[in-house]
């Protein structure tokens, strides 16, 4: 009797469950036990690998330099980061979807770089820290600080223990994570420290108990003993399998995490260097087959936008479609004749496939704003019967071509972070 999470799952062939076949539990070729353990595996791992946050930046986009007085964000055109002398805050912010009530540990790593002035060589001194923290409605609830070590130089620095996220209890359905870059007091004038990449992953569950999905459904661990050879299948077992599968199918994935901030400290309306760039498409390829979109009706996108403006109400438009200009199917990318698409996103410029996130005038106090969008997936004739995970939709935001992209459109630039997830 044990709830087993296999090191690597074995996915039983569906034909093992055909009419008249014996219930194979532990023998070679086991069906039910493999099935149960595979479900347990997904229960523990789904969404834990595949980063909750993953982003890199142009060099020095998330950085600060000691100019002899302040720790100034670069390349901000000489402006400091907003709070006057001694201020040393450089932030990036994200919202990530909760997996379950048991997933609380987030491993965070940053690729940190330190340079002496314009030198391309790593700076041989302790240069600063990055601080990862969970921000809840009640304030900062957890913090991990990681120092750049002179002996190690440039490279990946990871929190020694996971960041403990606690927002679940508030029912928010997401966690809010901030990464702050702080320089070391010993840096000389002209010295610079930068984060070039950040990634964060939920720690997988090492043991299973009944736990809850964001939509309230339950994950029920499946016991090997109930899946043993020739064991009768209980009504409970069947119900548990169904309920857990349903919960797994609804588990959100972090699709898009982008924070374009450097030197952000409160007034997005007066410093254009502190806002999300609005010039080019930003999106993620969203695989449509066999993962994600193919096997269900609507796909739900949730977007969180952090921003604001001193002087006017603003809005972010979320839309979806197939591809932006330059990525039209058939000629300049994957050809439709080659690519079994299964189902595809339906292009509509307006109507139910579009939603608007209103960002009210905020007098210099930016905040998070949220919108959701249902992406209808429609069948596409015979190609739906051909396998191949090769057709990707796009999710992101795009000013220039929002009517054909699977995008959220930043139709003004006063946003500093965009987090999108789907399920």
């Amino acid at each position: 009797m044990a709830v087993t999470i296999p090191a690597t799952p074995t996915f039983p062939d569906a034909e093992r469950f055909g009419s008249g076949l014996p219930v194979l539990g532990t023998a070679t070729g086991a069906g039910w036990q493999n099935l149960g353990q595979a479900i347990n595996y997904l229960n523990a791992y789904l969404g834990t690998f595949g980063p909750a946050i993953d982003q890199g930046w142009t060099s020095y986009a998330v950085s600060g330099i000691n100019d002899g007085t302040d720790f100034r964000a670069t390349p901000g055109g000489g402006s400091n980061n907003g709070a006057g002398s001694g201020n040393n805050n450089v932030y990036v912010r994200y919202r990530i979807p909760w997996l379950t009530d048991l997933h609380t540990d987030l491993d965070v790593a940053c690729y940190m770089v330190a340079r002496a002035g314009a030198s391309s060589s790593p700076l041989a001194k302790d240069a600063g820290t990055f601080t990862a923290r969970c921000v809840t409605s009640g304030g900062v609830s957890a913090t991990q600080v990681v120092a750049h070590a002179s002996a190690s130089g440039d490279g990946w620095y990871q929190t020694s223990t996971p960041l403990a996220l606690t927002e679940w209890s508030s029912g928010a359905g997401f966690a809010q994570v901030e990464i702050q870059l702080t320089h070391d007091a010993g840096l000389a004038a002209g010295d610079l420290i930068s984060i070039e990449s950040v990634c964060a992953e939920w720690a997988p569950l090492s043991a299973l108990s009944v736990h809850i999905a964001a939509n309230g459904s339950r994950y029920i661990p499946l016991d090997d003993g109930e899946l043993d050879a020739d064991a009768a299948l209980s009504a409970d077992l069947a119900s548990y399998i169904r309920e857990t599968l349903h919960a797994l199918s609804e588990r959100p994935r972090s699709l898009f995490q982008w924070s374009g901030i450097y030197g952000w400290a409160g007034n997005p309306g007066t410093d254009t260097s502190r806002r999300v760039a609005d010039r080019f498409p930003r999106y993620v390829h969203l695989p449509m087959h066999p993962h994600g979109l193919l096997d269900r009706g609507d796909y739900e996108l949730t977007a969180h936008v952090y921003g604001g403006d001193n002087t006017a109400d603003r809005q972010i438009v979320i839309q979806h479609g197939n591809h932006p200009t330059g990525l039209s199917r058939g000629t300049d990318e994957i050809g439709s004749s080659q690519i079994p698409t299964g189902r595809e996103i339906v292009n509509r410029a307006t109507g139910p496939n579009q939603t608007v996130i209103a960002i009210p005038q905020d007098a210099g106090n930016p905040d998070w704003y949220t919108g959701t969008l249902q992406v209808p997936i429609e069948s596409q004739s015979e190609r739906s019967r051909v396998r191949g995970p090769y057709y990707s939709a796009r999710v992101g935001f795009n000013v220039a071509d929002f009517d054909r992209s699977a995008v959220a459109v930043a139709d003004d630039p006063f946003a500093q972070s965009v987090s999108i997830w789907g399920r």
Partner: protein
């Protein structure tokens, strides 16, 4: 036998699971099991692997990826990286990138124009270790070709393949197309980084998913 996976909505209604019954192939339980096997086998594995994306901020008139800066002699002076963690079951990493050759401002001040360059870039999957430690290259793949003249649109490139399927690539990348699958078998569960060592182009978007073991 390969079968088109069923929709989640085809899972049996919970009210139909009210009795214990033997597995005789005619009841609800075996139907549920078949559904579950389909779903797990065909849909959930890649989903579990997840996806990461990468976008780069515009700054100082230069767009794109760190690693696109050259020293004027054609030497790449930086590479770019994305960190993530492989699932224990991962055997390969599929990646797709979009890149552009427009508006590149090199270190010399010269602007690289679309159509004027061919590219040969490299994606490297290697272990992600703490600063100061040596990483192990897991797999690498060279990709590239001539960029189609284009100033205002983004040149897509996407390489993709699965374990049992023919190679499919996006056309505009030109010669050198081939599998864009990075083999990571034996490295499941480890922290890794996907490094792009590129020349003459700006990488704008990167997406990746991992593939799991083949279905039984």
């Amino acid at each position: 036998m390969a079968q088109v996976p069923r929709r989640w909505t085809e899972l049996p209604h919970p009210n139909t699971l009210g009795v214990a019954r033997p597995v005789d192939g005619a009841g609800v339980c075996p139907t549920l099991a078949m559904d579950a096997a389909h779903l797990l086998g065909w849909r959930m594995r890649p989903a579990c692997g997840g996806v990461f994306e990468q976008q780069w901020r515009e700054s100082d008139g230069r767009r794109g990826f760190p690693g696109n800066v050259e020293d004027g002699a054609g030497n790449k002076v930086e590479v770019s990286r994305l960190g993530f963690r492989l699932t224990p079951a991962a055997v390969a990493v599929w990646f797709a990138i979009d890149y552009s050759c427009s508006d590149i401002i090199e270190a010399t001040g010269a602007t690289t124009r679309p159509g004027s360059q061919s590219i040969e870039s490299e994606a490297i999957l290697r272990t992600r270790v703490a600063a100061g430690s040596a990483s192990t290259v897991i797999d690498r793949v060279v990709f590239g070709g001539s960029l189609v003249p284009s100033v205002s649109t983004w040149v897509p490139y996407e390489g993709q393949r699965t374990l049992a399927m023919p190679v499919v690539t996006r056309a505009q990348a030109g010669p050198g197309d081939g599998p864009r699958l990075l083999n990571c078998e034996g490295y499941g569960g480890q922290d890794v980084e996907l490094v792009f060592d590129v020349a003459h182009v700006q990488v704008l978007n990167v997406s990746a998913w991992e593939l799991w073991t083949p279905e039984v």
